[in-house]
């Protein structure tokens, strides 16, 4: 048992994690591709047409997963940042930096797909509703995090300053989630609930969950890939990086 624990902690060193991440990236990328194709097939060909919204509702398969990921990644990012700040582990901070651009992309996509869905359904691209606004704020928070880290030249200080900002900003994520209950507005209540049975067809739910899993796998693959690049950049002065075959050639 103790042997296993030691094995886990071994990978908190960038040197040990770099090859492991390299091995993991193709697997997660392949899973993302398979899940994505399956989910798109279900979404476009198997899921029935919605009684009220017609074919336009099909953007839900992308929109919901993307919105979930944009919030989840912020929490995961803040978690890694907090671990990095608390235990002073370099790899955790690198992980937080690696996640930020993916999270920002998902938040942006969530806003875009939401606008594309809103136009045919509500007749407008944008509604100043609490959930949309919170998603926009989340996007701003990601941009602030990336801007702060890129403005500070010393990587150690950049990591720590970003970590404080991420932890302060993570307070915003529950506000997003509970905003539906807080402010009653145009936005429809969430259709997936843990306490009530879902109000949509099972195939729709399956497609949506598969798509969310696909985004999950994609995020892990991309974050690990970016993490490898960050490790190379920060550790470029070390002997083990110089000895890597891809660096030598």
């Amino acid at each position: 048992m103790s042997n296993q624990v030691i094995n886990f902690f071994k990978f908190s060193s960038p040197q040990a994690f770099y090859p492991l991440a390299g091995k993991m990236v193709p697997w997660f990328a392949a899973l993302a591709a398979i899940l994505g194709i399956t989910a798109l097939y279900i979404g476009f060909f198997i899921a029935p047409t919605d009684a009220q919204q017609g074919e336009g509702y099909r953007i839900i398969f992308v929109h919901v997963g993307v919105s979930w990921m944009s919030m989840l990644i912020y929490v995961v990012m803040a978690m890694w940042a907090a671990i990095g700040l608390g235990f002073n582990t370099r790899l955790s901070n690198m992980m937080a930096s690696a996640l930020a651009p993916t999270g920002a992309m998902f938040a942006f996509l969530s806003l875009c797909t939401g606008a594309l869905w809103g136009k045919p359904m509500w007749g407008t691209w944008w509604v100043w509703d609490a959930r949309l606004t919170s998603e926009l704020i989340l996007f701003f928070l990601y941009i602030g995090f990336i801007a702060l880290q890129s403005a500070i030249d010393d990587p150690r200080r950049a990591d720590k300053a970003g970590a404080v900002l991420a932890i302060v900003g993570v307070i915003n994520v529950p506000i997003i989630y509970f905003s539906v209950q807080w402010w009653n507005t145009l936005h429809q209540g969430s259709s997936v609930s843990l306490t009530k049975s879902p109000s949509m067809a099972a195939t729709m739910l399956l497609g949506m969950l598969l798509m969310a899993l696909c985004f999950w796998m994609y995020s892990i693959a991309v974050a690990l890939k970016r993490l490898r690049v960050i490790i190379l950049e920060r550790e470029r002065h070390t002997a083990w990086v110089a000895a890597l075959p891809e660096v030598k050639s």
Binding site: L85, T133, I137, F140, L141, I143, G144, A147, L148, A151, I152, R156, R157, K160, A161, V164, L165, I167, V168, G169, N172, I175
Partner: protein, 236 residues
């Protein structure tokens, strides 16, 4: 036995006297250079005045946009004054002396934030009702506006201090701090302006004011602590 104890006590000032002296020092410094404080206030007045010029003088429209305009202007004015909070002390090394003093840094930070609010937030809250008159707000809404600003602006100072501490000595710090801090100000803006709007529509402002006070309680607890962590990172 008793003698050395009192000596130690006199060597390290009590938390409250340290807090008081930091507040007094910052206010005294601002009084010696009045232009810093007054510039922020006039910025607030000018921004608020620009809106009727841009939108038109119809009183019915102005009355509806007044809460939002005044609050956005207060947000921007507070943000501009954030630079004043730590930059001068950071430049001349006072901040490092504060960090290594025997009094907890969090207390000194709290003192600086309180002084910042007294110099930027409180004048805004006092000035806002006069500007609200230009927007044809009724006396009761002017009261709500002033109370909402009095509860909300300390939150702006407390949250802004974290951003100011994080961007100390960073290139492009002034623009960066707006990017970091303004998104975090949005809940205060929503409920602050919402308080006046709720009173305009006859709903009563107490719910909004209670939420603002809740924000104040939470940020008063966590704000100085987060600012201290951020300052120690910047001072490394």
């Amino acid at each position: 036995m008793n003698q050395p104890m009192t000596q130690i006590a006199s060597a390290t000032p009590s938390v409250f006297s340290a807090l008081g002296s930091v507040i007094r020092r910052d206010i005294l410094l601002a009084a010696r250079r009045k232009s810093d404080v007054l510039t922020t206030l006039f910025f607030f007045v000018i921004v608020v005045t620009l809106f009727p010029l841009g939108i038109g003088p119809e009183m019915s429209v102005l009355r509806n946009i007044a809460p939002g305009v005044l609050w956005v202007a207060a947000l921007l004015a507070t943000m501009l004054s954030l630079n004043r909070l730590f930059a001068a002390d950071y430049a001349d090394g006072t901040l490092e002396q504060m960090a290594i003093s025997s009094v907890p840094l969090g207390v000194l930070v709290a003192g600086k934030v309180i002084a910042h609010w007294l110099l930027s937030g409180l004048p805004l809250a006092l000035l806002a009702p006069i500007l609200g008159l230009q927007f044809d707000l009724a006396p009761q809404q002017l009261w709500v506006l002033a109370i909402a600003l009095a509860i909300g602006t300390p939150v702006l100072s407390l949250v802004g201090a974290v951003g100011a501490a994080l961007t100390l000595g960073v290139r492009g710090g002034g623009v960066l701090v707006s990017l970091l801090v303004l998104p975090l100000y949005i809940p205060v803006l929503i409920f602050g302006a919402g308080a006046v709007e709720a009173d305009l529509t006859g709903l009563g402002a107490s719910a909004h004011l209670s939420l603002l006070a809740a924000f104040l309680a939470v940020t008063a607890f966590f704000g100085p602590w987060a600012t201290t962590v951020a300052l120690r990172i910047s001072l490394e």
